[in-house]
Subunit: 471 residues, 2 copies
């Protein structure tokens, strides 16, 4: 990873990594709508699987709601419409007919789901309702597009839950934080948790928590977000339940969103000059086996390499056998660009010595491992790499956060700042202007000390907050 890349440099590096790893094809003839190649899609679906594991384990049911939302349903929650109406795609015709009610492509699914939640929920016994879906959503974003990071058709995860009261919804948000902490370990992505300020919350939310990753340019990017809706949607969508006293109450709701940006974050945080580097949990191939052979020993070496691959496969390791008729160097290069965690080389000399050479993608190290210990060692090395990648990125993140009890004259913030904030919007705006950053919101992790006074006015700080440039 190269800290403090310039924006142009980053863009070029990021795009090259994606092209060289063949993760996505940008040549599709609609702007911001890219083609997922088999390798890129496998990474994405491995991430989806990691998310599903946690959601299923916490009693969420996976659903799938229709893509198209009638204009009449969309228009029920005023803030929500305001936030999204400039970004929606409209279906106005079908076959030869103009539609009576235009349909929009979901930018997110509140307005598709909540008319049905109203029907599903009758009494307190139906609560909590915990659902999620993994679907395509559409946002006609006018900013410059970038693979995985800013696209117009988005591979999207969204959970939606309904609760008897605010407290139970708050418990759900605590569970969501816990889920994110597990998922981020699988993705080897360290993060900052910030409760967004009022003026930057999700359209319609009571409050919003964002998970931000630090990119090589020093800008941060929101990877995931959790929203407390209170009854803001339940009131217009009339989602009520009968409580134990027989009275009708509005449900309290939460949502939780993530997207293909997670792929972008992995590329940006872990990629190096050779290509992408994939955390073993999400890598399509965790191990590639490269036999080193000449014509005269091909049969013997290939047989031994296939045997090796088979043993790894039987142990549940995702292994790729590369027996193509190419020079080993070309194969190394091919799989390095694609970020495969471990490369196992097996040649006649290794066979003679009863060993396998293992090349480790993230550190670039090579080690000889005894053939009869290889399966167990590969399992260990994959687990070590997973932790090492997270640990390294976590340390890097923490080192690049600067506490700012005040802003010295002429100071230029390179990455992330932690500031004290009194709660006045003007003071936050002042920091945004002085540092040329965005006010990300309250630091909810507090891995650093509290900053006691407002960085702008010097008054008592109500909170410590993050600031940074953003994507």
């Amino acid at each position: 990873m190269c800290a403090h890349m310039k924006e142009d440099e980053f863009s070029e590096w990021y795009n090259t990594l994606i092209e060289n790893a063949e993760l996505s094809d940008k040549r599709y003839p609609v702007k911001g709508m890219n083609v997922w190649t088999p390798y890129g899609w496998r990474i994405m679906t491995n991430i989806d699987a990691a998310i599903r594991r946690e959601l299923d384990a916490t009693g969420h049911g996976e659903v799938c709601f229709p893509l198209l939302v009638p204009a009449t349903e969309f228009e029920k929650e005023a803030q929500h419409i305001k936030g999204f109406s400039d970004e929606v795609y409209w279906v106005t015709r079908a076959g030869g007919n103009e539609l009576d009610v235009p349909l929009l492509l979901r930018p997110t699914s509140e307005t598709a789901m909540y008319p049905i939640f109203k029907l599903w929920i009758r009494s307190h016994a139906d609560l909590p309702l915990k659902t999620y879906q993994i679907v395509n959503v559409f946002r006609y974003d006018t900013k410059m597009t970038r693979s995985f990071i800013r696209v117009r058709e988005i591979h999207f995860f969204e959970s939606h839950t309904c609760h008897v009261d605010f407290e139970d919804a708050e418990r759900q948000i605590a569970e969501n934080l816990e889920i994110w902490s597990k998922v981020s370990k699988d993705l080897a992505l360290p993060y900052m948790v910030a409760k967004r300020p009022e003026w930057d919350k999700f359209p319609g939310a009571f409050y919003t928590i964002g998970f931000d990753v630090l990119m090589p340019t020093g800008r941060t990017m929101q990877m995931a977000s959790i929203h407390q809706y209170k009854t803001n949607f339940a009131v217009p969508y009339e989602i009520t339940y009968e409580d134990e006293k027989g009275e009708h109450q509005h449900v309290h709701q939460t949502t939780y969103g993530m997207s293909e940006r997670l792929v972008g974050a992995i590329i940006a945080v872990h990629g190096d000059d050779k290509g992408i580097v994939l955390p073993p949990v999400v890598a399509p191939h965790q191990v590639v086996v490269v036999p080193i052979f000449r014509k005269d020993d091909a049969e013997e070496v290939l047989g031994a390499a296939r045997q090796l691959a088979e043993e790894l496969d039987e142990a549940g390791i995702r292994v790729k056998m590369d027996d193509r008729d190419l020079r080993p160097g070309e194969k190394y290069y091919h799989w390095e660009r694609r970020g495969v965690p471990l490369r196992l080389e097996l040649g006649p000399r290794d066979m003679k010595h009863g060993q396998v050479m293992v090349a480790i993608r993230d550190t670039g190290e090579k080690a000889a491992v005894r053939r009869d210990e290889i399966v167990g060692r590969v399992e260990e090395m994959l687990a070590e790499m997973q932790w090492r990648m997270l640990d390294k990125a976590e340390k890097d993140l923490r080192e690049r956060i600067t506490d700012l009890p005040d802003i010295p004259y002429g100071f230029e913030l390179e990455d992330v700042g932690r500031v004290g904030w009194c709660g006045e919007e003007d003071c936050a705006t002042q920091m945004e202007v002085n540092l040329e950053v965005v006010f990300l919101g309250e630091d909810m992790d507090m891995k650093g000390p509290a900053i006691e006074r407002c960085t702008t006015c010097g008054g008592t700080a109500r909170m410590t907050a993050y600031v940074s440039k953003t994507y």
Copy 2:
């Protein structure tokens, strides 16, 4: 299964089964676009997993192409447009802007994929290209909608392959037939294979093979189809490769489609008066454990039931523990409607006798199984049930096919007929009129004898063909 249900009776029965099993919610406010509930969606994704296993094992790469297709790309293959233009949804606006080029929601993905295949394929070394995707597609079908069977947003599987020549594409079609034969075993769905007549092939195809299932009404329904495109799309989309002599050739293409109709077919073929019956391979819960307890022995029985469920889970069986505070009868009823293959009942008497009672959903039988043999027996019983369901449905299908070397005066065909056909379209039309059926096309399985003479004109038959009423 109730043979020869009348259409009204079937519709009511089918809809009731879906409602009682809570597979889908039809109350979404756009016609033909239904909500997948957690239980229904799990069945669908288990079917997807069965399909993925076969496609991955045969070297297909999973991709994901954009949903929206520019009108300009859609308009390249004349037959294809003709076949679909009445059925497409059009996006004409985004945010506040009218789009310069309207975008359509894919009804299938040829026109999205082939401009990119043109870029991916350069030389014969890039072939065969074997891809598939599982996505939502949209068809503005004006016929009456029916859950899973006729909907406007369709959960869709499509594979697309490119080959050096016609022969290699034919080999792919043979592989697809093999894949279907495996998938249909997982789904316990017997089928007829019919090569469709010229006038009923897929828009743009050189030929089409359909897989039809026999429904309780005696009508057949197409569940899957395979298409040989020859170069019909490669020419307008200019998908060429350089052959070994350095000459540019058009690729030959095939596709293979299936959809959520597979869920509809399972419901219709295997459902009974108590509810749906799920083949173990696709059942969300293969086993439900129902503890039979009173207040005074609750702790002991629940503990033993949980232990039982845990052992089954560890053996890789999908098990649901139902420890709700309801009478056992209510639970039986609940899980019968949902088609769970095996119900395990465990009460104090069973514990005393070291046994578990097993209720088998498809036969309605009950058996006592020794507690210390239960895990192995459950595995066997699930495998037996899978085969028994397929076998029973296969026998039923074969019994309901009538060979028709001629059509006796006043004859009314109840289910499926096999006819001889000379190849003249008029003769096929005559059969359609006389029998009030659709000519499904050439019998490619030939599990019955060849019919030597044309059922209409008595001339030499070029093929034996299926006829039936259809959905």
